[in-house]
Each structure stands twice: as structure tokens, then as C-alpha cells.
């Protein structure tokens, strides 16, 4: 799906919409859904009609709230709020506000108030945040989860308690000891319903009553009753003065954090997806989950022909081929993927719990498009652990050596793997470093290890390692996160000291930036840097707004540049054929 045009090319975005953080029923029955991977428009049957991210002008890709203020529709994102206009599958941002995460907007007395996460409450258009009184943790007090109007007043729920606006100042109002983390508010006349991490409360006048319910993420009225979306207990409602389970709540909604209703039609979602209901008497049905990566935190990419291997920070490994996604699930592949290496017919996956080696065919038949499922019999997976000689459980980097062996960086030195056995390179071999974040071999057969104490160069079979560091003047930061090699030239990317080029024993700085692990890609003479500040090119043009500024990897897939970010996958077809 090509969603936007940037420069001479177009950007295609692929995000995971599973985590639903907010939802809103639109006129006509469509549902607007705020997810961890963007704003999505679903039709009433649960089909995705459109997805919008930061690429499309939203201030952020992670959506934190949807608010209707008068006739205006406001989207709260992790990077501020946007007033939007919808026209079918088109979305236009008409106004923006704030730069911090925005949870909610609400109107009272002609003014619109904006609840920000970490920035308190601001009046829309005003330059100064409203004042606060009470509470022992100003940082937590500034994390405002929700606003409500009740009993004629404006209330703010924060991570440091409930506040009431009086004469321009939010004053702390007690609820109950232990219930000071307010996650949601709902005003209903004189009643203020308060969802906290310690349960649901009702404030009416000066009386406060607790109902339990655990971690209450959202409170609203559905079918005339107060309903709480609870994280762990699913949907619950107030029935004859007690908080009880909503009968018929799907099991998948146990981790609920969003719910909305309009004329009987309702949406509800949470950590595990979206459910829709067409009327008060209809059952909840799960919305279709579009194909995409298993999570938005992409940590590693690798290409094998037309296959794109996608490793995620904590949701495992997936493969995409010709638009079809397949998640590879196996007890032998830890869900925390750090690096991927394609080695002929084998794919090596470095994880927080060893190395998984995949060999064989991956079934891409239409029936296997489901994201979850066990590995197919055709795919053999073996796992290397400490029992196989690896010096540590956590594997951070992989590289293939010219002699066919594989070099691994681990959290306790490096290792060379051959015939299923690992030989450690650590303190005993003269390596004065523990965490090896990057590994490479140059054309002269030197092995380069990027560590937290500098860059080391040596041969696998002897213990004479040369250390290049800030002290020696070769680096601007000792924490070397990424390496790339061209002949005998080595590029070393550091945590926050940019990239150094090593040639003939000397180093020169070629770029600034905060380089992510494995974040240097060398394509001919083009160096692409995956940094916390976005994708940077040395010899390449700049790519502007992506789904998120934290870019973790980039690869070439045919003529397409594929970019991994913390907010999904971005592709630019035709990038290499310009």
C-alpha cells in the first residue's frame, strides 16, 4: 500500500495495528481506531479501510487518544495532537497542537483543554501550562491521562492523583490511598467516574466510593451503563451498584484499554486487538488484522532473495515475501531478536537467548498468511546455546567470515561458530571487553569487534588484540554499536559519537549521530545510518518524516529501500533505480 510520496519516490508503510489504544465510532458506522502503529479507519464489518501514520502528517504514529471537541475530531499522538478532516479513505491534518504526547482534549466554557503526558494540561492556543497545587511528585503530576467535566468543574486524572480546576489552578483531590494513579475519567452530570490502576471509583459531591476492578484504563457509558475497560479483567460494568463482568466479552479483550459506543454500535480494544459490535444486542466480533510485522519495534532486517526477514525487539521473527507475511514461531527462537544473518540457505537469528538457525523452505501458501502458527515441517530450526560453547546467552551481533564460519558478538565476548560448536573469544583470549555489539571481518582477515570499551582488532586464533578507543584518539565514543566493511576500510558506528572510518590504522569521522545496534548499511558507496534521530545517508539523499524518528535498520530489497523503525516498517520502492 503506497501511502505517501516523498521526493522522487513513494513511501509504503507497514505497521502492526494489534495494540488498540483508543477508538471512536464515526457517523455512518465506520470506526476510527488509534493503535500503536497508527490511526486506522475500519468499516463496520471490521475491515481496514485506511491507515495513517506520521508519514501522513500526524504528529506521531502511536495514537494515544481520540477526542471529539464540538464538531472537531482531534487525534492525540505520542508527538502532539492533530485536528483532522476525514473524507472516505483520505485524511487531512488541519491543525496541530503540542509536541508532547496528548491523551485527550475536552471543552469547557468555550475553552479547549489538552491533556498531555508529561506536559500537564494546557489551554488550546495558550503558551503556558495551567498551574498545579498539591501532590508530591511534579513529574508524575504532569502525566495527565484524562480529563472530564463533572459537577460543573474540570477534572484531570494524573499519575499523581486526581485534580480539580479551581481559579485557573488544578488542586489535588484525594481519592483513596493507593489509588493515586488515575488512568481515565468519565463525567456524568454530578458524578465523576475515576478509573485508576487500583480500581474504579465514583466521586459524587464529597463522597468517594470504590468498586474494585483492578487496572481500569477507560471508563465510559455503553448502553446506558457505566462500563470500564480493564487491563486484565476485560470489560466490566456497574450493575445494581456493583462492578461485574460484561457478559459476552471476548476472551481476547482481557487486556482492554479502549471502548466507545454510539447509538448501540461500539468498539473495544486492547493489547490483543479490536472488537466491534454493530448494535446493543449484537455479539462482539474481532476485526480483521491486516498483514504486517508482528510488532512495531523492529530490531533487525535481512534479505534473502525476495524474502525479507524481520526481527522484532520482543515479538519474535517474521518473513515477508511478495506482500505475504509469515511469523516463524518456535520454542527455539526467543522472541527478543537482536540480529539476523542470511548465509546461503541458512538464516541465523541472534536473540537474547541464543542463536536460532533456520534451514529449509518457509510455507507461503495463502493458508499460511496468519501471523501466528508453528513452524512448518519443511523448516528445520536448530538452536545454539551456552551448551554449544557460546560464552553467553545474549547474542548481540552476527557476521559471516570469509572461511565460512560465523562470528557472533555476545554479552560476554565473541565466538566463532563452526560445525555447530562455538569457540569463545573472551578475557582468556586477551579480549578486554564483555559486551560485543558489532562484529566484522575485513579483506585482510582482521576481525573487528565493537564493544562498550572501544573497537578491537585481532585475529581469531591469537590473543593479540589492538584496542582503538577515545583514549587512543580513534573514537569519539567507546561504545561501538555497528560495523561495516568495504575492503580494508572499516566503518564503526558509536552510541552517540557518530561514525568513524578506519583506514590504515587511522580514523576519521564521517558522520555524527546516535547509531543503533547494527545500524550501518553499506550499499556500494552509499552508507545508510540507522540512528535514533532517523535514517541518515552519507552519499544518499535524506529521507524526511518516517513513522518514527528512531530508525533501527535498513536493507535493500530489489530496488526497494526497506527501513525498520520503532514504529513499523517503511519501504521506498524504486529507491535504487532512481
Amino acid at each position: 500500500m503506497i501511502l505517501a510520496v516523498f521526493g522522487a519516490g513513494a513511501l509504503a508503510v507497514s505497521t502492526d495495528l494489534t495494540e488498540v489504544r483508543a477508538c471512536h465510532v464515526l457517523d455512518g458506522g465506520d470506526v476510527l481506531v488509534g493503535t500503536g502503529g497508527g490511526l486506522a479507519r475500519y468499516d463496520a464489518r471490521g475491515n481496514v479501510r485506511a491507515v495513517w501514520t506520521a508519514v501522513h502528517g500526524l504528529p506521531g504514529t502511536r495514537i494515544d487518544g481520540i477526542s471529539k471537541v464540538g464538531d472537531a475530531l482531534w487525534i492525540g499522538t505520542e508527538g502532539g495532537a492533530a485536528q483532522i478532516a476525514l473524507d472516505g479513505t483520505a485524511m487531512k491534518v488541519t491543525r496541530t497542537a503540542e509536541q508532547k504526547a496528548v491523551r485527550q482534549l475536552i471543552e469547557l466554557g468555550g475553552a479547549t483543554y489538552v491533556a498531555t503526558w508529561e506536559g500537564g494540561v494546557n489551554k488550546l492556543g495558550a503558551s503556558k501550562a495551567l498551574a498545579w497545587k498539591g501532590g508530591n511528585n511534579p513529574a508524575a503530576r504532569a502525566r495527565v491521562s484524562s480529563l472530564a467535566v463533572a459537577d460543573g468543574a474540570l477534572w484531570a486524572g494524573t499519575a499523581n492523583g486526581l485534580y480539580r480546576l479551581r481559579d485557573g489552578t488544578f488542586e489535588l483531590t484525594s481519592i483513596e490511598a493507593g489509588a493515586n494513579e488515575v488512568l481515565s475519567l468519565y463525567g456524568d452530570g454530578a458524578q465523576l467516574w475515576i478509573g485508576t490502576s487500583a480500581g474504579l471509583y465514583l466521586r459524587e459531591g464529597s463522597l468517594v466510593r470504590g468498586f474494585g476492578g483492578g487496572d481500569v484504563r477507560k471508563v465510559t457509558k455503553v448502553d446506558g451503563a457505566i462500563v470500564a475497560a480493564t487491563f486484565g479483567g476485560g470489560l466490566m460494568k456497574i450493575d445494581r451498584g456493583r462492578l461485574v463482568d460484561v457478559v459476552g466479552t471476548p476472551k481476547g479483550l482481557a487486556m482492554a484499554q479502549a471502548i466507545a459506543e454510539r447509538d448501540g454500535a461500539a468498539c473495544a480494544g486492547g493489547l490483543h486487538g479490536l472488537w466491534l459490535r454493530s448494535s446493543a444486542t449484537a455479539a462482539w466480533t474481532e476485526a480483521k488484522r491486516p498483514a504486517g510485522p508482528p510488532a512495531n519495534d523492529i530490531s533487525a532486517l535481512a534479505v534473502d532473495g525476495e524474502k525479507l526477514y524481520v526481527g522484532t525487539f520482543d515479538h519474535g521473527l517474521a518473513v515477508r515475501e511478495k506482500g505475504v507475511w509469515r511469523q516463524i514461531e518456535s520454542s527455539k527462537i526467543d522472541h527478543r531478536v537482536n540480529a539476523i544473518l542470511v548465509d546461503g540457505k541458512r538464516v541465523w537469528v541472534a536473540t537474547a537467548a541464543g542463536i536460532a538457525i533456520l534451514e529449509g523452505a518457509i510455507d507461503f501458501a495463502p493458508s499460511s498468511t496468519a501471523l501466528r502458527g508453528p513452524a512448518k515441517p519443511g523448516l528445520a530450526i536448530t538452536q545454539l546455546t551456552k551448551a554449544d560453547g557460546l560464552p553467553a546467552r545474549g547474542i548481540l551481533a552476527l557476521a559471516k567470515l570469509r572461511d565460512g564460519r560465523v562470528l557472533a558478538g555476545t554479552s560476554a565476548g565473541a565466538a566463532i561458530i563452526a560445525d555447530g560448536r562455538a569457540t569463545a573469544i573472551g578475557a582468556k583470549q586477551g579480549l578486554e571487553a564483555k559486551n560485543v555489539w558489532a562484529v566484522a571481518e575485513d579483506a585482510d582477515g582482521w576481525i573487528w569487534l565493537g564493544t562498550t570499551t572501544g573497537l578491537f582488532r585481532g585475529k581469531a586464533d591469537d590473543s593479540d588484540w589492538t584496542r582503538y578507543s577515545v583514549a587512543t584518539g580513534h573514537l569519539t565514543d567507546d561504545w561501538v554499536m555497528a560495523l561495516a566493511v568495504k575492503g580494508t576500510t572499516v566503518f564503526a558506528g558509536t552510541y552517540k559519537g557518530g561514525v568513524m572510518r578506519f583506514e590504515g590504522g587511522a580514523s576519521t569521522k564521517v558522520a555524527d549521530g546516535w547509531i543503533n545496534p547494527g545500524g550501518i548499511a553499506l550499499h556500494g558507496d552509499t552508507l545508510l545510518l540507522s540512528t535514533m534521530e532517523g535514517l541518515k545517508g552519507a552519499g544518499a539523499d535524506r529521507l524526511g518524516t518516517l513513522t518514527g524518528k528512531d530508525v533501527t535498520a535498513s536493507v535493500r530489497l530489489g530496488d526497494t529501500l526497506v527501513i525498520a523503525t520503532r514504529r513499523g516498517l517503511v519501504s521506498r520502492p524504486g529507491y535504487w533505480t532512481r
Binding site: 508524575a140 499519575a159 483513596e176 493515586n180 486484565g232 527478543r336 554479552s411 583514549a471 587512543t472 528512531d550
Partner: protein, 895 residues
């Protein structure tokens, strides 16, 4: 993604608990007004002892002026003590009234024609009368003269002797400052020489369980040397503490100690030592100190040792309080100290070089009257009962006729020196109008004087000389002593000795009947190796006195206060009628003052219910007192069974129960007895090999899982059950490890930046794990994640885990000093308000080599550059790094 820039602590004091703040409430305004109406102190205020920081004010609006020990100032209106306590005197005379100030205490002082006045605004103070000027405590209901020794806070005043444990802090002020609160690790550097290891951090995590505090002290020591060493860990547990656990980090894993029969523990230990592996055997050293051998202490590495113990909360007014003290380290500073009580950080501080005395209030609502623990072998209950007595005010006591029974039997020889000290201290406490006699007691009785005599310096000297001159010999005939007392009709009796009758009447019941006829309270100080309260708790309790085992100077001072400064209404011979079928404690009578509680601990058969009420009986004066106390619904509480076991074990030991029975109960309940030890082995396999059951490991896991709570109880949860890795301060993807059971329905982690993650069970780590990233824009500071566990049975449990993001690079200043062979290089970290956390300093020398300086103290690194005299100036590049891998570069030009 921003990874690794994490440090698990903060550098500022979040809060310090202080009992009874009242400066801002209406109640306090009365005493403040009273103080302001009177003139300031006319007598000089003399600082006798200053352990922390003492400050004074000359006017309410004036500045605080520091006051050092030995200083004397006039015109004072306000005094405050911080960190640790202080003693001041109202006047420079040795006989002036003394005011003891606890840490975090503020008092107003004033003076008028009647004397000096003290009003406690915040904290707690003890006031002791003197003979140079009258002393008063101001209260909202008026002023109250002090003729003895009282302890006062913002809420109440009571004779110090009525509950001397509340004055322990003040007793510690008159003793040398000994190490307390934290352990110390010595490493062997040579055959003869041991040296202290740096204590990187102390984390004190306290969870209250009813009226008990379960304290877990985690020490992280650092071996800064380049050599692997062997160490000895020593740890003092507070008075009256029940040691319940010990854990040590071995090869990255915390290994829990187990209670093992003493001889078996010793045999296993010796066998493993022979095999050159890594066991640890915890042994009593002396007093309250425990000793543990630790091997190995790896070079340039940390060693983590955890001690757990249980102490009772102190009852203070209507609420309770938890106290924790750390003495000033002998040298250097403790890197980090954090005290967390029920999940709330009570204190966190860096580079702690001075002592700390914390008092953290625990609301009465958290201490249920009836506590219950159900186990497969029975139902264990603890029931707190307070008699209905009017609060005891400090009153002008009638002159005493005090008879002191001084044990001179053969068995008293060992404790004679201590008994003599107690005798002298006690006699010096007497008022001029009091009279006394000392009865030397063995098989016979000899009196220091024919009749009672006034407590003058001469008579005291004579009495001491009298007992000093008696060679301890013969048996102990308590019946004879009681008969002699009957003849002398004392108003008060003190017994000093080991308390064991070995001649004449020895039956407890008969001795009890004898003391009943004395009509005088007997306070007993039980001294010596064989001292036991098994008989004297009953004898003292039924007369209105108290029996205490005296092992230390602190015990002695506490006893003297209890014996001489407790003139207040009391319930004597207090007993609780416990249900039939229960094995219950206490089994002896008790003396209760207003505000005191008696705690009945019992074991009931599995199918037996607690009765709806219990009966408390005793006497107030000569009147019989009976109360039917309704029991509130029981609240499930940890450690009730262990509490019962401790009393049962003491009873079994005192009654010479079979050793096997004692060992069984001790190991079943993981409560140490005189026949058991705590043993730590290097891994689970070693425990299996020696067939040692992992009961403590299971209990620790349970403790780590914390109490089960719902709704509004969430703030009761502990904060340190979960852990942040890797290694807290090392770089890497931060991961949170949560020790929830594998069958939990879900483990959800909510981050302060607005995201929620579901943790996944990690088979290798045997814990739930979640990894997270920190955005580059995250500001430095302290953050907190919330972990919500939904257990298999639907129970909800919440934990909170703080972490600190730190991106500041350490700045160091380097000096080079020429010596015979080159330059001594010394790098000192410039704190600039931050903590001294640099862990690596490197210097690039002119020949291109990089020299790593050795850390010799927090923020201090040294090295030697061997070089001939320099022909021309050289520039050295210095790179300093902290654990979060923040780096700074600087240069040093050597001319």
C-alpha cells in the same frame, strides 16, 4: 532507541519519616503560642553529644545556626536535630536537666520564672530532670513538670520507664557509636592482614506484616583489587530480631541459605571446603553479630549479600513505627543507601559518610488486631490486645523503699561485674527522698544495712563495697530471699542475678505465691550465660514489674529506666485466656502500661476457629480487672507461624525438650534455634547432594512475590521484588525480571512513558521477562515502572520498580606529581551535585599506550607513569567513564 543509560538509584533524599508532625495543625498552635509568649532560654544551652547535625534558633524568624558538641549558647528559642540524635543540657552544670533529641526532631524552648519549657513540635525527645532548674513539657492542655525522666512527642508524654524501648535511640547516644544497621566485609590481603571492602550500596527493603517488620538488607561490596580474595562478612541484627534468611550471590545467582541442624551444617561445610568450592556458614559471633565466610571475592567485582530478619514494630501513640539506624562508617562512605518501607522510598542517599536514624510511621490501620496464617499443620494466630487504661502521665512519685536482691550464688560469678554496674546505675537513679537496702542472696541473706538508707553517694559506695566483698558461692535460694523481703516490706524490688533457683523452694507456683504476698513490683535483670526469663517473666509480671535479660550496656540502661522511671498506671499480672486446644504464648503474666499491648500468639488445630472474644485479666492497683475483648475478623498475615515457632522453640529449649524435636521445628519453620545454623551452598545441585530442603528459597520466592492485594491496598506493596537488568548499571537492553510464578495468568508492565508490555515467561531465567527501550528524548531523572501480576487464581499483585536515567558524563580532575621514578597520577571526580560514579579512568601516555588508573575510592583513581624527567611539556589525554557508559575527555599538560 536509547539503551543502557540506567542507574538504579537517585542522589537525593526523597523523604525522611518523622513521627507526629504537628507544626501545621491546630493542636500545635497552642504550644507554639505558649513558647512565643515566654522569653527565650536564659540558661545557656550546652551541646553534650552531637551525633548528627544540631541547629538552634534565637528567634522564630531567625536563621538556623549549627551547634557543635561542647558549644554553649544563650537566648535559644528553637532546637532541631537531624540525621542522628543529640543531647543538650539546660545549663552548664553537670546536674542540669538533659534533653535528648531524636533525629528529625524539632523543639521550642523557653524559660520563665518557674523553669525551662520544652514543646515538641516534630519528632521525639526525652527530658530528664535536673537539680539546677525545673523543667516542663508544654502540652496543649498546659505545662507538665518533669521530676523524673519522660519521653515526649507531639502527641503524648509518658514516663520513659513505662516503655523504655521507645527510648533506645537516646540510650545509644550515651554509648560509643558502634557499627549498626549494615554489615561489613573484610577481605584477606595477606596471612595476617584483613582490610574492609568498599560498601557500594545498602538497600533496605521493609515490608510490614501486621505488627512485624520484615527487613531485607542487601549489601553490595566491591573488591577493587586485582586479586580474587576471601572475605568475612559480619552483620549486626537489631535487638530482639529474629534472623530468618541469608542469601549470597554466587556466579550471578542469588543463593538462599537454609536452616540446617548445626552439626550437619558444620559437616557439610567442612566437606565442601575440602573440595575447594563455595559454601558459606552463618554463625553467631557475639552479641547480635553474625559472621559469614565468603569466598571467592572476585577481582574488581561486586559481591551481593542479603540478610533478612524480623522485628516488632514499636507502638508509638495510636500508631506504630519502624526504626532503622546506620552508624557512621568507620572510614570512607557507603555509596548508596536506600530504605524502602512498604514500597514507599523512605530515604535514598548517596555517599553516606554520616550516620542515619530513620523513624518511619506505620499507620495503625495497617496493623490488624487479629492476624492469621493458615498452614497445612495448623492455624496460627496472633491477637493484639490493649488494656483499657488511662494514659500514664509523668507523676510525682511517692518516695520509694527499694530492696535490691543481689545474687551472690556461685552461678552469679560470670555476671557479677555487669550486676555491679547495674546496681550502681540503679542507685544513682534514686531521688534524694528514696531509700534502699541491698540484700546479698545465695543460700543465705545478708543486708547492706540494718534498715533502708537514703541514696547518698556515701551509702551507694558502701552498698557496692558490701556486695563487692562477697565472694560468689553456694546455691541460690529464692524462697529465702522472698521471705527476707516480706520482713522488710519494700515498695519496690529489684532482682539482679541469673534468676535460677537451685536451693530451697524451686517450684514456680510456690515462688509465685510468695511474691504475691510482697505487694511490690519486682523488676528483674537476668544476667549471665544461663540467664533465663522462663521463671521471672511470671514472677515479675504478676507483681507489676518486668523481667529482662541483660546482655549489653544498652540492655542495662533500658532495665534501669524500666525499674526506676515507670511511675504510671498499669495492669499487673495481665493474662489472656486462650481457647482450649491452642498452644499459646505468652504463658506468663505480664505488666502493661497505658498504650501497651499484649500479643497472644497461638497455634490451633486446622479445623478450629478463633473464638469471638478472649478474656484479659489482671489487677489495677489492688482491684481485679477483667475485660472481654471481642476479636475483629482475622487478616491473613505473613510470619505468624514463624513468630509462634520462635516462642515455642524458646519454650522447648528452656524445658529441655528433645533435641530432635527442636531441630525439626526449627528446620520446618526456618527459625534458628540453638541446635541449627544457616548454610548457603553454591547451587541447587549442592543442596540436593546433601539432602537439604530448599525451604528458605521457597519462602524467599514467596516473599519476593509480595503480599496479595486488591484495590486500595496497592500502596502496601514492596518495590524491590522485580529487578532491572543487566546488572543494574551495565549497558544493554534494559530488561525487567519479575519473579512471578510460571502459572500466572499475566504479567503486565506499565512504563512511565505511556506504554504497556506483557512479560513473557523465560524458562532459563525461571522468571517473567520484559525488555524495553528508552527514548532518546527522555530526560535524566528517576522513573518508575508498574508491574501487575494476575495470578492463576485471579489474585492481583502490583509491584513498583524505580530506575534512573543518567546521561551526565563524569568529570575528573587529574594531577601529576613527580617522584623518583616518574609521575603519580591522581584523578578525582568532580561531583558537581551528582554522585561520584566514575568506574574507569584511562590516560593516553605520550608513547601511545593507554594506562588504566586504579580506583582507590569513590571518585578517586590513581596510577603511576614510569618515565624519566621530561625534556618538554607533554599533554596527556584523560577519558573517564561511568557505569552508564557516559564518557568525558580532558587533557592534562605536564610542564
Amino acid at each position: 532507541m536509547k539503551i543502557g543509560s540506567l542507574i538504579l538509584a537517585s542522589s537525593f533524599v526523597v523523604s525522611c519519616g518523622a513521627p507526629g508532625k504537628r507544626a501545621e495543625d491546630n493542636q500545635g498552635k497552642g504550644v507554639i503560642a505558649m513558647a512565643q509568649e515566654r522569653p527565650a532560654l536564659a540558661v545557656p544551652l550546652a551541646a553534650i553529644t552531637v551525633r548528627g547535625e544540631l541547629s538552634v534558633k534565637h528567634s522564630s524568624t531567625g536563621p538556623w545556626l549549627p551547634m557543635t558538641e561542647g558549644a554553649s549558647l544563650t537566648g535559644i528559642r528553637e532546637i532541631k536535630a537531624e540525621r542522628r540524635g543529640a543531647i543538650v543540657a539546660f545549663g552548664d552544670s553537670p546536674k542540669a536537666p538533659l534533653l535528648y533529641l531524636r533525629a528529625s526532631t524539632r523543639v521550642l524552648v523557653s524559660q520563665d520564672g518557674s523553669g525551662v519549657h520544652v514543646a515538641v513540635v516534630e519528632g521525639r525527645a526525652r527530658l530528664r530532670h535536673g537539680s539546677t532548674v525545673s523543667a516542663y513539657v508544654d502540652t496543649d492542655s498546659g505545662e507538665q513538670i518533669v521530676t523524673g525522666d519522660v519521653i515526649a512527642d507531639a502527641v503524648e508524654i509518658r514516663p520513659t520507664g513505662a516503655r523504655p524501648a521507645l527510648a533506645d535511640w537516646s540510650l545509644a547516644l550515651v554509648a560509643p557509636e558502634t557499627a549498626e544497621g549494615v554489615g561489613r566485609m573484610e577481605a584477606r590481603v595477606s596471612k595476617e592482614k584483613m582490610e574492609d571492602l568498599a560498601l557500594r550500596s545498602v538497600a533496605v527493603d521493609v515490608k510490614t506484616a501486621g505488627d512485624l517488620a520484615i527487613t531485607e538488607v542487601t549489601h553490595i561490596f566491591h573488591n577493587a583489587s586485582d586479586e580474587r580474595r576471601e572475605g568475612t562478612f559480619r552483620f549486626p541484627v537489631p535487638d530482639g530480631a529474629m534472623l530468618t534468611g541469608l542469601a549470597m550471590e554466587i556466579e550471578g545467582k542469588m543463593m538462599e541459605g537454609e536452616v540446617v541442624e548445626r552439626e550437619k551444617a558444620r559437616a557439610v561445610y567442612e566437606k565442601i571446603v575440602d573440595e575447594m568450592t563455595d559454601p558459606a556458614l552463618l554463625e553467631w559471633e557475639e552479641g547480635n553479630w553474625f559472621k559469614l565466610r565468603v569466598f571467592p571475592l572476585e577481582a574488581r567485582a561486586d559481591k551481593k549479600v542479603v540478610i533478612r530478619y524480623v522485628t516488632p514494630l514499636a507502638k508509638a501513640g495510636a500508631a506504630y513505627e519502624y526504626a532503622y539506624s546506620i552508624a557512621a562508617p568507620d572510614k570512607g562512605a557507603i555509596g548508596d543507601v536506600t530504605v524502602t518501607v512498604n514500597g514507599q522510598v523512605a530515604m535514598t542517599q548517596r555517599d553516606v559518610a554520616k550516620g542515619i536514624d530513620l523513624t518511619i510511621p506505620v499507620p495503625a490501620a495497617r496493623v490488624p488486631p487479629v492476624m492469621l496464617e493458615k498452614r497445612a499443620d495448623g492455624v496460627y494466630a496472633a491477637v493484639r490486645i490493649a488494656p483499657k487504661l488511662m494514659p500514664g502521665a509523668a507523676s510525682v512519685a511517692a518516695p520509694k523503699k527499694l530492696a535490691i536482691v543481689f545474687d551472690t550464688s556461685r552461678s552469679s560469678l560470670e555476671g557479677k561485674k555487669q550486676a555491679l554496674e547495674l546496681l550502681e546505675t540503679t542507685l544513682k537513679e534514686l531521688a534524694p527522698e528514696d531509700r534502699f537496702v541491698v540484700l546479698a542472696s545465695d543460700v543465705d541473706i545478708a543486708a547492706s544495712s540494718q534498715d533502708y538508707v537514703a541514696a547518698t553517694p556515701e551509702s551507694i559506695r558502701a552498698a557496692i563495697g558490701f556486695v563487692e566483698g562477697i565472694e560468689p558461692d553456694g546455691a541460690s535460694d529464692l524462697g529465702r530471699a522472698f521471705s527476707a523481703l516480706t520482713e522488710r516490706a519494700p515498695s519496690d524490688i529489684i532482682y539482679l542475678g541469673d534468676g535460677i533457683p537451685t536451693w530451697g523452694e524451686q517450684r514456680p507456683d510456690a515462688l509465685g505465691a510468695m511474691v504475691d504476698k510482697l505487694n511490690a513490683p519486682i523488676d528483674a535483670a537476668l544476667i549471665g550465660k544461663g540467664a533465663s526469663t522462663s521463671l521471672w517473666s511470671e514472677l515479675s509480671g504478676r507483681t507489676g514489674g518486668r523481667a529482662m535479660i541483660v546482655k549489653s550496656q544498652l540492655d542495662g540502661r533500658r532495665f534501669v529506666l524500666a525499674a526506676t522511671q515507670a511511675d504510671a498506671p498499669k495492669l499487673t499480672g495481665a493474662r489472656i485466656e486462650t481457647p482450649a486446644g491452642a498452644i499459646a504464648f505468652p504463658r506468663t503474666a505480664a505488666t502493661l502500661f497505658a498504650g501497651d499491648e499484649i500479643v497472644a500468639v497461638m497455634k490451633l488445630p486446622v479445623d478450629q476457629q478463633l473464638p469471638p472474644s478472649v478474656k484479659l485479666t489482671g489487677k489495677i492497683g489492688s482491684a481485679v480487672h477483667t475485660e472481654e475483648v471481642s476479636l475483629t475478623p482475622a487478616v491473613a498475615t505473613d510470619r505468624v507461624a514463624q513468630r509462634w515457632a520462635r516462642q515455642q522453640l524458646a519454650f522447648m529449649e528452656a524445658t529441655d525438650a528433645p533435641k530432635d524435636d527442636i531441630v525439626k521445628l526449627s528446620t520446618d519453620m526456618s527459625v534458628l534455634s540453638k541446635y541449627t545454623s544457616l548454610l548457603v551452598l553454591e547451587n541447587d545441585e549442592a543442596y540436593k547432594r546433601f539432602q537439604i530442603e530448599r525451604k528458605n528459597a521457597e519462602a524467599a520466592e514467596k516473599l519476593a512475590q509480595g503480599p496479595t492485594v486488591t484495590g486500595g491496598d496497592l500502596d502496601t506493596l514492596g518495590a524491590r521484588q522485580a529487578s532491572l537488568s543487566p546488572d543494574e548499571i551495565q549497558p544493554g537492553d534494559p530488561e525487567i525480571k519479575i519473579p512471578a510464578p510460571q502459572d500466572a495468568q499475566s504479567v503486565v508492565v506499565s512504563f512511565p512513558f505511556g506504554e504497556t508490555k506483557v512479560a513473557v515467561w523465560d524458562e532459563d531465567a525461571q522468571a517473567w521477562m520484559v525488555r524495553f527501550l528508552i527514548d532518546q528524548a527522555t530526560a535524566d531523572g528517576q522513573y518508575e515502572v508498574r508491574v501487575t501480576i494476575t495470578h492463576a487464581d485471579g489474585r492481583l499483585q502490583v509491584m513498583k520498580l524505580p530506575y534512573t536515567v543518567d546521561t551526565r558524563a563524569p568529570e575528573v580532575k587529574v594531577t601529576a606529581t613527580r617522584d623518583a621514578t616518574g609521575y603519580k597520577l591522581v584523578a578525582r571526580q568532580q561531583a558537581n551535585g551528582a554522585r561520584k560514579d566514575a568506574d574507569r579512568v584511562e590516560v593516553l601516555l605520550p608513547d601511545g599506550t593507554v594506562m588504566r588508573l586504579t580506583q582507590v575510592a569513590w571518585g578517586k583513581f590513581e596510577g603511576h607513569w614510569d618515565t624519566a624527567a621530561l625534556a618538554a611539556p607533554v599533554t596527556l589525554r584523560i577519558v573517564a567513564r561511568d557505569p552508564a557508559l557516559n564518557q568525558s575527555t580532558s587533557e592534562l599538560v605536564i610542564p
